[in-house]
Subunit: 363 residues, 2 copies
């Protein structure tokens, strides 16, 4: 059984192996496609905290017994790798939706291919070309996620038949992908329709983040370890609490975070006009005049003074404290459920460590 | 065993059933997501010739024996439905890449959601909102394609365990998705870099169309029917020939087709600047001056006189006749291989009918 610290490396090895196996089928089409595939591989392999694989593994650890562990741990790591490919699609496509220029301090994928287009002085619109390549590379990541999760590869080497994904895990996998895409659809529609209620922001968080980042990965892991229905239900509740805490922390970091830590510009969520619980709470709890001032700061570039004013409103309205309070509540609720889980002390310790980590992270 | 005429209806029933099964999981997230999902379902269910499912079924029919047919035909139909979902993703995303406003005489998905954004007078850029929804709906179609092919659903109803996809079919399925996406990446890169050689156009056709539309579906069908390696190889050659004939015919229809039949504007491929074998052949076989004239007609709106001049160049250069000749050659080669296939007369008749249909179609 791998320790939590060993999981990211093991998942990266699975991903590296998968990319190596796909390379010949890309090369056969054209070196152009090899180059695009290499950009995707680099994007997947050089970044990320591997949080979702850690939750799959933690969920698996809650369920696995001595007799099933050796046979099922490789599956848990494989599914973890597959979720990282889903995440690659989500980030690459999200960066188009959000018109983001940088991620983790590097140009986003669509910006990278726009720059390549300009560099070669190709014909047509560089920005459109960059987005087009990024749409297709996101699609490739999504298709490969399913290949990996089902043990398939786009190559004809005669290997052993792949170990199939157990049906219970497959249903959760299907559910998770529909939830994250549905949550994203809801998110962009709320943003367009300017739905600024706390309830709307919570609903997006529940599906786009909590289910996808924590709750379903935990449950899939437990299903791979052949855990009980009771365990799966408890992990759903724990995962939803932790996922909400994760996103609420993200919202705070998106406004108050240190750019050197987060890799995003200062006050980025305000500049992009993201509809977060933090902002929704401040709008709900401020006077009409103050709410109008805050609304005027959303979705545009801000001077240092404007950013300071916006932060002041978020603090003075009590929204910052309210969100910190909600994070604490979700964390406490999750920790109490983790303590009551019928599993090994090590599995509980794993989950407890992850819980504190995502609720209190600085980046 | 279903007749060829019964296949589209049976596949549509599978798709309708899948959409019905997914509806509660969308409704749980939000009515907004239900609405988006309904737009996707409508897009999938109201259009298309179901060519790829027909080829899966024809390939299956070449392999199936009396003892295996009853158990494996449902799988062949299921895979056919799944490819229609891949195709939905390909079309929805392609329409963003090509900036197409209409498909099958209806607004494209991104245009439909742009219009909804304008109708509601929502905030932000309507065109960007439309593209964003279309990116996510294409992703949903791609994720659902894999759910369907593996017999999964994003719902927790306790049904019988899904019949898994046999590994040999799974490898071909994985290969096919990488090929179509790789072919699309190559296509947009060729277009950007103005690679106007016949060879480049053929390479795109081979992966983006021939493998994806005919050859792999035939092979997947044969794998589901537990056919031999020899059958699979013969179907690969037949499928590649037919797929190339299909795309070459498409190129002719894209310039000379009747808009009332094709559902696309007259001379659409010239207006969009598509790099087809037809155009590549004309550029290669014309004088420098004529080639420059033709080049000047690519990728912009054309008057009736300009369109007539462009068509004249394609005819006078011999490109039209050359492409018709290539279609005949590919069709003849495929028909000869079909005749030599060791399978039932009915399976051969099915394939022969499909071969004539796609080589000589008017729309």
């Amino acid at each position: 059984m791998l320790s939590q610290q060993q999981v990211p490396g093991a998942v990266e090895e699975i991903l590296r192996d998968f990319f190596d196996a796909t390379a010949p089928s890309l090369e056969e089409i054209s070196p152009v496609v090899t180059e695009a595939g290499a950009a995707l591989a680099e994007f997947v392999l050089t970044g990320g905290k591997r949080l979702r694989p850690l939750f799959v593994h933690a969920g698996w650890r809650c369920a696995a017994t001595e007799s099933t562990a050796a046979a099922t741990e490789p599956l848990a790591l494989r599914v973890g790798g597959a979720i990282e490919l889903i995440q690659a699609c989500a980030l690459v496509h999200d960066d188009i939706l959000d018109r983001s220029d940088t991620r983790r301090g590097q140009p986003t994928v669509h910006q990278r291919f726009s720059a390549l287009h300009r560099h070669h002085r190709w014909s047509g619109d560089s920005a459109h070309h960059g987005s087009s390549v990024a749409i297709l590379l996101g699609d490739l990541a999504l298709a490969w996620a399913d290949d990996l999760v089902h043990g398939l590869r786009p190559t004809f080497d005669d290997g052993p038949a792949p170990v199939p994904l157990p049906p219970a895990a497959g249903t959760l996998w299907a559910r998770m992908r529909t939830e994250v895409l549905g949550g994203q659809l809801l998110d962009i529609t709320n943003e367009a329709s300017a739905d600024e209620t706390v309830d709307a922001a919570y609903r997006v968080m529940k599906y786009k983040t909590a289910a996808y980042t924590v709750a379903r990965p935990l449950q899939i892991g437990a299903a791979l370890g052949e855990g009980s229905a009771e365990l799966s239900e408890a992990l759903w509740r724990i995962g939803t609490d932790l996922g909400l805490a994760f996103q609420l922390r993200d919202d705070l970091l998106g406004v108050f975070g240190d750019p050197a830590e987060t890799g995003k510009p200062s006050g980025d969520d305000l500049v992009t006009g993201k509809r977060t619980v933090l902002v929704a709470q401040a709008l709900a709890d401020s006077s009409a005049a103050t709410a109008a001032t805050l609304r005027g700061f959303l979705g545009r570039a801000l001077s240092a003074t404007e950013l300071a004013t916006a932060r002041g409103i978020l603090i003075d309205s009590g929204a910052l404290a309210a969100v910190e309070g909600q994070i604490d509540d979700h964390l406490s609720s999750a920790l109490a459920e983790i303590d009551a889980l019928e599993t090994s002390p090590l599995a509980r310790a794993d989950l407890t460590a992850l819980a504190h980590r995502i609720a209190h992270r600085q980046k």
